[in-house]
């Protein structure tokens, strides 16, 4: 028999396909991956520690910098956690606006996932089409929050300001075009034989393993468990909307990819309903300038972010700053299955798996 020669290849931390600062050390035998050692911490910016020195309001902009692809989702989670801690009621109109912004963020995040998978697998044109459609969401963010990417529009107690007049037509036309976009991504990439060959049966994550590792979000749903916090434990006003949770059973890369495309459509449905029922009224609750929670109170609030279950655990010691803040980052936990799904595959599967697991290192390393 041939003697096997094991060698290690360092993918990252500076590598075009590692979505930021991921360092995956592949233990290879020829082109076959024996194991993957995931090195984390290259983007560790000590956000949780910084939170302890900022007031509740001051920490809001930092949360956007955790998952910067779906900007409004981590902000929404944090604001809702603080509102839960302090018992703040959010006005009806603000709730609806928040839903629209959150779902737009989810679409933006999935579009980045789609584009990045495209370029990681060598389909550069896929990247361009995904980014082109995402620019329309960026325009909507800019008109509401003033910034393209990190708009910090959602605030504790509501949203920063009321929506401008041009907001509703822009969102409406975007929602109308979502099916067209999905067709285009499917036509260019999903239906392509090369694409299918690279994704089908690659990086299979079984139902049991997914549960064992605590994987959440689209990756879990691709493994066959239709679990979504928006349905399982509705936060905000998600219980008022009618939408489906797409789920697949294979658990391979193609399923993870398909789930993300299908979720674009579901998010579109939610936005449509929110637009139709948008009430008039205030957009921000009247809250004191200095927010203080009672000493010893703690709260855990979780939302369905674009990557999975995003949770905030806040402990208060009575001051205007959190005593301890912990973020349950979905990317961190989803990334842990990377060695599991890569073993036995060829080197190119590592790239496919990183792309379809869609980790965000800013959130994972914090």
């Amino acid at each position: 028999m041939m003697q096997s020669d094991i060698y290690n290849v360092n993918v990252g931390p500076i590598h075009p396909s590692t979505h930021g600062g991921l360092h995956a050390e592949a233990v290879m035998d020829g082109e076959i991956i024996q194991d993957v050692i995931v090195h984390l911490g290259y983007v560790h910016r000590s956000v949780e520690k910084i939170a302890e020195s900022k007031t509740y309001q001051q920490f809001v902009p930092y949360t956007a910098r955790l998952d910067y692809l779906a900007t409004n989702l981590p902000v929404l989670g944090y604001c809702q956690a603080v509102e839960k801690l302090l018992g703040i009621e959010v006005p009806e109109r603000a709730e609806y606006i928040r839903i629209i912004m959150a779902e737009l963020s989810r679409i933006a995040s999935h579009q980045i996932a789609i584009s990045a998978t495209g370029i990681d697998l060598g389909a550069t044109t896929g990247l361009m089409y995904g980014m082109r459609d995402r620019e329309r969401i960026m325009n909507i963010f800019e008109m509401t929050g003033g910034q393209r990417l990190l708009s910090s529009y959602i605030r504790i107690g509501g949203v920063g300001a009321d929506i401008p007049d041009e907001f509703i037509p822009a969102v409406q036309s975007f929602v109308n075009d979502i099916p067209k976009m999905m067709d285009e991504y499917n036509g260019l990439m999903t239906g392509n034989e090369i694409w299918e060959a690279r994704m089908k049966g690659v990086g299979i994550l079984s139902k049991e393993d997914a549960v064992k590792y605590g994987v959440t979000g689209p990756n879990l749903r691709a493994s066959g468990i239709a679990y979504d916090i928006r349905k399982a434990e509705p936060y905000g006003i998600y219980d008022r909307f009618d939408f489906d949770i797409p789920a697949r059973s294979g658990g391979d890369s193609l399923d993870r990819w398909n789930i993300r495309i299908e979720e674009l459509g579901e998010s579109g449905r939610i936005i449509q309903q929110a637009l139709d029922n948008l009430p008039e009224g205030e957009v921000k609750a009247k809250i004191p300038k200095v927010l203080k929670a009672e000493a010893g109170t703690e709260v855990y609030h979780r939302i369905e972010s674009a990557k999975g279950e995003l949770g905030y655990y806040i402990v208060s010691d009575g001051g205007n700053k959190p005593y301890r803040l912990h973020v349950r980052a979905p990317s961190f936990i989803n990334l842990m299955v990377l060695p599991l799904v890569c073993r036995g595959g060829v080197f190119q599967d590592l790239i496919t798996n990183i792309a379809t697991l869609d980790p965000i290192l800013g959130e994972s390393d914090r």
């Binding site: 500076i14 930021g20 911490g41 910016r45 000590s46 910098r65 990417l149 800013g362």
Partner: protein
């Protein structure tokens, strides 16, 4: 092929310039070529790389300036776009990538994280700006930087290169 890789050599070239017109003409030609062809190596770990991606995509199109040949390898890159905070763990990687790039090479610090540590300046694991480890040519403040602002930074760098300013510490 004459190559001025060090400062003292550059000074020699400048001295020569007084006597020899050819050298200055070539210098101008080279600077012209270099300034129109920054091939970037993008380092990024935060929000700004997403804007770098957007800058390359259809709406903004970095290719108009000829700067779209994004290299994955430092050996073929001219411009290191640092877009993100430099953590203590990332520092050696950045230093190594910078050392691997061939001269002449430039650095753009894109976004407040790269300029100064930005939002995370209070963090225990973040360096106060990329200029604490490598020399930076253009600083682009912003959080995150708009693609147009990135272009503005690159065009500023182009002006700088065309004027023949080339400093290395």
């Amino acid at each position: 092929m004459v190559l001025e890789t060090k400062n003292d050599q550059l000074n020699d070239v400048e001295e020569l310039a007084g006597n020899n017109i050819l050298v200055t003409t070539f210098e101008k030609l080279w600077n012209w070529g270099r300034s129109w062809s920054f091939w970037p190596l993008n380092y990024g770990c935060n929000c700004c790389p997403i804007e770098v991606m957007a800058a390359g995509a259809g709406r903004f199109d970095q290719a108009r300036f000829g700067y779209e040949v994004v290299r994955a390898v430092p050996r073929q890159a001219d411009l290191l776009t640092v877009a993100g905070p430099i953590t203590l763990k990332m520092k050696p990687a950045i230093e190594r990538v910078w050392a691997q790039m061939p001269e002449p090479k430039w650095v753009i610090a894109m976004g407040n994280c790269a300029v100064s540590g930005g939002p995370f300046k209070d963090g225990y694991s973040v360096l106060p700006g990329v200029d604490s480890i490598i020399p930076v040519d253009v600083y682009i403040p912003g959080c995150p930087v708009r693609p147009e602002a990135l272009f503005h930074g690159m065009l500023e760098l182009k002006k700088k290169v065309q004027q023949g300013e080339y400093r290395r510490s």
